[in-house]
């Protein structure tokens, strides 16, 4: 077991109450492992307190990257959220804590 952080980097963005987190292998040869281990099920479990339905994963082999889309609560958009991190910018850090 190791943390995702050791093999991948990530960035979070937001669109209304949707958030996206992209995850990229540092080394292209690790991409297949990411596809196998960083699944919709694992990520939905990790983000269970932030989402209202299971996450959607898009695979982008050309970029050796995965893009996850999270549906947050209706009140969790940047213009409504009472969270300290209203944008959800820190969600990429939670992603990198995933044990793979």
């Amino acid at each position: 077991m190791m943390k995702l952080r050791t093999v991948a980097h990530a960035r979070a963005g937001d669109k209304g109450n949707l958030a996206n987190i992209s995850v990229f292998a540092y080394h292209d040869e690790d991409y297949a492992m990411l596809v196998e281990r960083v699944t919709e099920e694992r990520v939905s479990e990790l983000f269970r307190e932030h989402i209202t339905r299971p996450v959607t994963r898009y695979c982008v082999p050309n970029l050796c990257g995965l893009n996850f889309v999270l549906q947050r609560r209706p009140t969790d958009s940047v213009t409504r959220s009472l969270r300290l991190d209203a944008h959800g910018k820190s969600l990429s850090s939670l992603m990198l804590s995933l044990e793979i």
Binding site: R11, G13, N20, S22, V60
Partner: protein, 438 residues
Amino acid sequence: MKKIRIGAGAGFSADRIEPAVELAEKGHLDFLIFECLAERTIALSQLRKREDPDSGFDPLLSERMHAVLPACRRNGVRVISNMGAANPRAAARETIEIARRLGLHGLRVACIEGDDVLHLKDAFRPFDDQPLPDNATIISANAYLGADALAEALHRGADVVLTGRVADPSLFLGALIHAFAWNTESWDLMGRGTAVGHLLECAGQLTGGYFADPGFKDVPDLDRLGFPLAEVSEDGSALLTKVEGSGGLITLQTCREQILYEVLNPSSYITPDVIADFTEIRFEQQAPGTMRVSGAKGKPRPRDYKVSIGVDDGLIAEGQISYAGPGALERSELARQILEKRLAHIGAEDLRVDLIGLNSILGAPADWSAPYEVRLRAVARFTNEMDAKRLTREVESLYLNGPAAGSGVTFAVRENIAIVPALIARKLVTLIISMEGA
């Protein structure tokens, strides 16, 4: 083959100004683009315009223009920005006035209006499955315009183009359509230009901002981060780089992170100009510090414009207090219980009490140990000011009526404007391009 150099001078409304000056002076640019309009900013600008018809444009417009116009004029760099916010016409007049004071003569400033669609609110349709807001709560409504009007303003000879709400990548695509006389229904070209715009629109996020993670992703000289520029070819491929000697870096990693930033489905990135497909995009290192991007594609543009509706969302009250040293966590926990009891009878909606240092951002981890300092943060929504101030007073009262040694109280009550998306048919929206100055 003709090449166009475009710089990113700002990625948000409060962005740093020095990197834009550096680009204007040393970037050998044709265009310098400032993206300065967040979702909610335009609603706030509309409120200011209602109080003063000559205001409503970006509060930093004067400072930015003062800083960059001399070098832009000297080097033949044309400027495009959404700093017009709720009042592009007043922004254009202000820019002319700044140029006059700087002794820059003959500057032609175009403004683009038509994004304000508040008068068309009966024609709004829901975006995805999100319900439209109650008409009585609507403060503002602005459509995301595309690149076409920008290209036209440049075609008419504008040195500076100021807009209100325009989709961020369209600010860049407009310059490319004009410079290369691209057919705006050549969807792959629109897709490639949109990819370049999307990579540049957040400025420093392509060059090492929002990226550094010491020991994993190190960034040199982040304190003097340089903003990116693209040298774009007529086929829509581009070299991404920054001014030599500036801080930061452009690598495969920064490019990959930024191309998917705020993207949902990478094969359908929707703008008013095109539905761009980033799935076959390629990044190759051309030289140290220079990445080549190519391979984006496009599909026909959507029939509707997206609209950002600004909605009165009541009040948000927030108060914070710190506890430190031995027992910090126990005392902040006690403060939380006291607050929740004292606030139980007022009209707080969605009351949230965070312990900063433990659980305020991502929730507490499974393996945490007691922190040496904890900052309690209480926040809730209210419909009236008296109740909102009850929350802030109750936090302040924890000084005298709470656990031992509470310190450093801060609090605020603010009116909140929420943004609700909607759609409007393109044909209902009228674009107006006008010229100010010589």
